[in-house]
Amino acid sequence: MTAPVSLSRLNHWFGTYQALDDINLEIAAGEYVTLLGPSGCGKTTLLSVLGGFIAPSEGSVMIGGRDMTRVVPAKRPTTTMFQDYALFPHMSLRENVGFGLRMAGMGRAERDRKAEAQLSLVGLGDDAGKRPHELSGGQRQRVALARALAVEPDVLLLDEPLGALDLKLRRAMQDELKAIQRHVGTTFVHVTHDQEEAMAIADRIVVMNAGRIEDEGTPARIYRQPASLFAADFMGEMNHIPVHVTEHGVETPFGRLQLPAPRRGAATLCLRPEAIGTTDAQITLGPARVRDAAFFGTHIRAHLVPDAAPDLVLIAHLPPVDMPAPDDVLVISAAADTISVFAKEP
């Protein structure tokens, strides 16, 4: 049970506020896609449009080749796993998971059997008689997943499904979600504001901002070569270095660099903290004075003031071996393929 989704030229306004701005997106059958962005970026609105809870002002939603733009949620081949799970508190887990099958007119014996099978899939096979309030947060999340999957939807929509869980459990559930998705083969569309979650789980990430799609692609591609400054910043910590693009190349405080660059004029050069190192790389940044450094386990996070640009403070993630002291001087450099340059917004 899986289907491709095709969104074309979606626009939506809440009053005068434009929540979706010309969204075009193709999702393949069986793909795991995350919609990533800050709150208010339109990702939840887009999910609601997919689920049928909001009819878009303009544009169309095709699921499995059929136009679903104005079809009510009950009649769509989609189910939603809600942020607060929306489990029915007065029903047992079995009744919760079997609810959609009951609505479809399935007899009790068969739907109980199916519901229990679904519960087993998420590791709660022995708890079918319990009520939602007897469960932990992580268990509730699994029931919500089982309930949404029980009706065998073509597309499963997940609205910040892991938002209420603590960090450790969230990481464990990410792996589990991914495994279940591989097992059932359903198309998953997952909304989150956590870029680590998006990277951990998605085949493809769609970065959204102000109702628009800023970038879409594999996690590695978006992290390494983001399509926009917004996407670059949202995917993780980033150093911004003001530069100037001329016909000869990119003029930086560290000299002229030959990099793929946008149109001429003022621009921003983006450099990930972990790209900065003390070992020799293509681009030399020269000596830099350590302002402070902190131990993070996997790396040492240091603030560095390069001699070539004393107004600049660079954040660097250094290998967790030697702890530099304040005022130490390090000679730093960066790899060329980790750098992106974006034109300044006019």
Binding site: F82, D84, P89, R147
Partner: protein
């Protein structure tokens, strides 16, 4: 001394609160014509007298019927209105809410008087039905307010999930909304029953031949103090607190655990 003060206040307050009730119950066992000291007895003659009084038992049955009918209508209408207002965007919904709550801010006497004037002008007779109509007027705002306040985002999300899983509007209401709101609906019904059961002035103004229990007690009162009144008052009290304690012990306690 300062540490004892609160407990002394508590004791005095409880004496004040229980003085009339204790007097009422004690002298319902009076063996004599007057429910005042000295106490002779105990005797159950007034209870026998009261239970054998067909007018009183008829009034009691009338009261139960009016309370049940008025509460069922008030809770049903209140629930539907709350659902409509909480789940649908309606123009002027603030005004509708204010209108539905309005009878709560007006004395029962005025509600009863207004209805009495209309009914007499329209030439319609007074009966238990007209009293019941008045009771719905005063109970509807309460039922609506209680149920409306209970309609939170949690139910709304559950209803959305149910629709997503293929439930139609009727199934959503019966299988999700009503069961989830059962505590609020129950509370509204219970409160409505209590108010209706105890209501005097509207019943007094709007009934004629068949009357409710408070009205019957009122007419007994005209003939002065009597242990009969003590007996019927004690019985009503006993039944009421039995209901309250049962609810407290079995319904509300269970809900909290």
């Amino acid at each position: 001394m300062m540490r004892l003060l609160p407990w002394m206040y508590l004791a005095v307050a409880f004496v004040f609160i229980y003085l009339p009730v204790a007097t009422l119950v004690l002298f319902s066992f009076q063996d004599g014509q007057l429910p005042v000291p000295p106490f002779n007895g105990p005797s159950l003659r007034w209870y026998g007298d009261v239970l054998g009084d067909s007018r009183l038992t008829a009034a009691l049955i009338n009261s139960v019927l009016v309370a049940l009918g008025a509460s069922l209508i008030a809770v049903t209408l209140g629930f539907l209105a709350a659902y409509g207002l909480a789940r649908h965007v309606l123009p002027g919904s603030a005004l509708i809410r204010a209108l539905l709550i309005a009878p709560l801010t007006v004395s029962y006497l005025i509600v009863g008087l207004g209805l009495l004037i209309v009914l007499t002008q329209a030439g319609l007779g007074l009966s238990l039905v007209t009293a019941g109509i008045g009771h719905v007027v005063i109970n509807l705002p309460l039922a609506f307010a209680i149920i409306f306040a209970a309609m939170g985002a949690q139910q709304q999300n559950a209803e959305r999930a149910a629709r997503d899983l293929g439930a139609n509007e009727m199934q959503v209401i019966l299988l999700v909304t009503v069961p989830m709101l059962a505590p609020a609906i129950g509370a509204a019904f219970f409160l409505s029953m209590t108010f209706s059961w105890d209501e005097f002035i509207i019943s007094f103004l709007l009934t004629r031949f068949d009357v409710t229990l408070p009205v019957e007690i009122w007419s007994m009162l005209r003939s002065g103090l009597s242990p009969r009144l003590n007996a019927i008052g004690s019985l009503v009290f006993l039944v009421s607190i039995a209901v309250v304690l049962t609810l407290e012990l079995f319904v509300f306690r269970k809900r909290r655990s």
